[in-house]
Symmetry: C2
Subunit: 118 residues, 2 copies
């Protein structure tokens, strides 16, 4: 259950902007504010079942966006590459501890790399 | 005119997968295979005006995707960061030409960075 929620949260982070405004709002109430289907239904004057279907339809759309664009898959690959490069730089730093100027510059480069996968 | 085509090509690279299959196909015929509106209309048994509207609707959607997700904007920022980091590494290489092992490793790191923005 927690895994499913985490998956949807990540999908929403990447693709939520592609959902229509009302669907996005219902999604936020359900997944971020943790309102129940019944509470959201009351707020919108709709049935609990109607809200349930909107949420399910939204989830399906988000998964479909990932199948089409693969942004999460690409982000994870990119993060792996950056982590690997940072380990390489760290090894250089460890091997050349006496070279203060080099270390400083390499540390700056490694730090800036993090901005790529934030 | 060329700029507009280049813009649409980039938008299509990033977001084409989000267009419905038929719209995508018409887009490809028009922008990649350079068929005229008339030729595409003939192939689909539709009017020239109908194809024109499909293309225009597709362009609008692609621009809207970029407004919502900003993938091209983010890619350009990322490319700037990577270019800057590569210049930094290049400077280290120039300053330490005598240190063959360090140079080799830095060159490998710079090369792998390119994969991030391909």
């Amino acid at each position: 259950m927690l895994d499913a929620i985490a998956e949807i949260s990540i999908l929403y982070d990447f693709y939520g902007a592609l959902l229509p405004p009302k669907q996005r709002e219902i999604f936020r109430l359900y997944y971020e504010d943790n309102l129940s289907l019944g509470e959201i239904a009351e707020e919108y004057g709709l049935t609990r079942q109607g809200i349930h279907e909107t949420v399910k339809r939204g989830e399906k759309k988000l998964r479909d966006f990932e199948k089409r664009l693969g942004l999460i898959r690409k982000f994870n690959q990119e993060k792996q590459t950056v982590d690997k490069l940072k380990r390489d730089i760290d090894q250089l730093i460890q091997k050349r501890k006496e070279d203060a100027q080099l270390i400083l510059k390499l540390e700056q480069i490694a730090k800036e790399m993090d901005r790529l996968v934030q």
